[in-house]
């Protein structure tokens, strides 16, 4: 250990003090800080390189591709029924919701429509996927800001939803249940009543989150007014889902121009928040879970009877054409641009995933924020790496 002579130490302190008196600002080249490659809530591996000036971020550049699986290329050599297996794994927390827009795009090209009962069950599973997905976000949002309890509650209650999905589809994470023209199977006996019980648990969970997180002073201090996205900037970056609704844009594909699902026959509400900050993104998602419970309740009440599969050929050849179908998935808008040349396999599939657009705003958004806020902003944008990398 080296010791500095007292005289030199004093001279140093005096120098510092005089600098402070004349208000000299030290300029530095800044420091480069590497966040990741990992995600505190393990939604995949994202690396963010931030350049710092003191505690402030001057530039941020997310680096991804750690999970790039090339689904657009793989889809070109797989038949339409095989592709649902791939798209399942894009947003793995709400897998069933991924299959829906792809199947709807194929159905539009084939001019097939699923029977009413299949559409209702699809919508039920779609909303259950949303609950399973967003419940985990609500827990993770807390854990990324240092509150460990909510994440245990989230994992505990999400399991009940996953059980219900598993009871129907046979898969907790990757149902692979949606088919062109309908569904693989009907719902099992007694499932409706069980699901109602699960919805009650989720409502209780939402109340717990309100008590534990929403009103928490530390949580509010770290999210209110942090990471504000004005509506026009959000739109020009293509943000979607709760991220854009938290900026006051009243736009939800389930209500506006939704195809193939039955949300338009339900009585529900699109929640928006005028602030556009991290807190409002959290708040809007919390309301959406409640809203999804309301929707599933109504869907279970009014489930029509009938077949669950339309008449489609055994070997599916999709007529030549192009179709783009997007749905309001848990993370935001997910769309598939499918180009068919009349083969067993699509000619090209462009996957428009929500998180890719949602995270592309980060270089703009993180400029000028403080280091701890980087985490709260990234957490509130809520991305899943599989949904970015595809």
């Amino acid at each position: 250990m080296t010791t500095v002579p007292d005289t030199r130490k004093l001279a140093y302190i005096a120098g510092q003090a005089s600098d402070a008196r004349v208000n000299v600002e030290f300029e530095s080249d800044g420091m480069v800080l590497n966040l990741g490659p990992q995600h505190p809530a393990t939604h995949g591996t994202l690396r963010v390189i931030v350049k710092l000036d003191g505690e402030r971020v001057t530039a941020a550049e997310p680096v991804m591709g750690y999970m790039h699986r090339g689904y657009e290329k793989l889809a070109e050599v797989r038949t339409y029924p095989q592709i649902t297996t791939l798209v399942n794994r894009i947003d793995w927390l709400g897998s069933f919701a991924n299959e829906v827009p792809f199947i709807l795009a194929a159905e539009r090209l084939m001019e097939v429509e699923a029977p009413p009962r299949a559409q209702w069950i699809r919508t039920v599973l779609f909303e259950l996927s949303r609950i399973a997905n967003v419940v985990l976000f609500l827990g993770d949002m807390g854990v990324q800001l240092g509150a460990v309890t909510p994440v245990f509650f989230a994992f505990r209650d999400r399991e009940f939803v996953l059980n219900q999905i598993e009871a129907v589809t046979g898969g907790r994470f990757h149902p692979n249940f949606d088919r062109i023209g309908g569904l693989k199977d009907d719902i099992p006996k007694g499932w409706v009543d069980e699901t109602r019980g699960v919805l009650d648990r989720i409502r209780t969970f939402c109340d717990e989150m309100e008590d534990l997180v929403t009103g928490n002073e530390i949580f509010q201090a770290r999210t209110r007014g942090i990471g504000v996205i004005p509506a026009d900037v959000g739109l020009s970056y293509g943000l979607s889902g709760a991220n854009i609704r938290a900026s006051g844009v009243d736009w939800d594909l389930r209500r506006d121009g939704g195809v193939g699902l039955v949300h338009d026959r339900l009585d529900w509400k699109v929640w928006t928040h005028p602030d556009g900050d991290s807190f409002s993104r959290y708040w809007v998602r919390l309301q959406e879970v409640r809203e999804a419970c309301i929707m599933v309740d109504q869907l279970l009440d009014g489930m029509p009877s009938g077949p669950i599969m339309a008449k489609v050929p055994r070997i599916i050849k999709v007529p030549a054409g192009e179709a783009y179908v997007e749905t309001e998935n848990p993370l935001g808008i997910m769309g598939f641009y499918v180009i068919s040349k009349g083969d067993l396999v699509p000619y090209r599939v462009k996957i428009r995933s929500a998180s890719f657009n949602n995270i592309s705003i980060t270089p703009w958004l993180l400029k000028g924020v403080y280091v701890p806020d980087v985490v709260s902003i990234l957490a509130s944008l809520y991305f899943i790496l599989g949904d970015i990398d595809r």
Partner: protein, 233 residues
């Protein structure tokens, strides 16, 4: 800033009138674009009540983006990508036996064909923007040079195009003029080639036969209709 919030809309609109209304909207959108771009607009197609495609020249690409944003209310940037219309020189691989001639060699590649709103060259840009108030979207296409695909960057019109253009650059080899940071997005820095081009082989399929081929077996009595459908031998 324009207020974007709207009161709760009624859920039970008569479907037929809504369809006709959006149709007029899409037609007028094409008319507005034709007015602004003149010769820059090559072709368009409206699927009534569903979608609209507009094909512009590569030179008019950025102007079209600006016009969509400023004149047509398309404030929302949805995605930007590209299409390679070259028929794959590898056929459709082992999924489709129809591509193989009798001696197991790949058949002659088919001539190039294009999709909705036509085409003229190998590469086509593909972008989609959306009007968050009127709830209609438009798909925009532009033909690019087959050997040196280049286009103006859309960043001045939609800043969100940044990453999408980086992706199109590495996946298709399309250069975007005026893009500040055209570097790899997904692939490693040293990566060579453009994977989403049709002449880029999918190595997993080259080295290992696809097991799915044996899964599709015809049921008794099914073969009369499905003869020649491929993938079923």
């Amino acid at each position: 800033m324009i207020p974007l919030s709207s009161p709760d809309t009624t859920l039970d609109e008569p479907a037929e009138s809504a369809e006709r209304a959006t149709d007029e909207e899409r037609e007028s959108l094409v008319a507005t674009l034709a007015d602004v771009l003149g010769d820059g607009l090559v072709d368009s197609e409206v699927a009534p009540g569903t979608d609209v495609w507009v094909r512009v020249t590569a030179e008019a690409w950025l102007d079209a983006g600006m016009a969509l944003r400023d004149r047509c209310g398309m404030a929302y940037f949805n995605f930007l990508s590209a299409i390679d219309w070259l028929p794959s020189p590898f056929g459709r691989d082992m999924d489709a036996q129809v591509d193989l001639s009798d001696d197991g060699e790949a058949a002659e590649p088919e001539p190039m064909t294009w999709g909705v709103a036509g085409g003229g060259t190998r590469f086509q840009l593909l972008a989609r923007v959306h009007d968050p108030r009127a709830h209609i979207g438009v798909t925009l296409k532009a033909d690019l040079d087959s050997h040196d695909p280049r286009a103006d960057s859309w960043i001045p019109a939609y800043p969100g195009a940044d990453w999408h253009e980086r992706e199109a650059w590495e996946m298709f080899g399309i250069t975007f003029r005026g893009h500040p940071n055209l570097i790899h997005l997904y692939l490693p820095t040293q990566f060579e080639g453009n994977p989403l081009r049709k002449d880029y082989p999918l190595l997993a399929r080259r080295v290992k036969p696809w097991p799915g081929i044996v899964d599709v077996e015809l049921m008794p009595g099914d073969d009369a209709d499905d003869e020649g459908d491929g993938g079923s031998v």
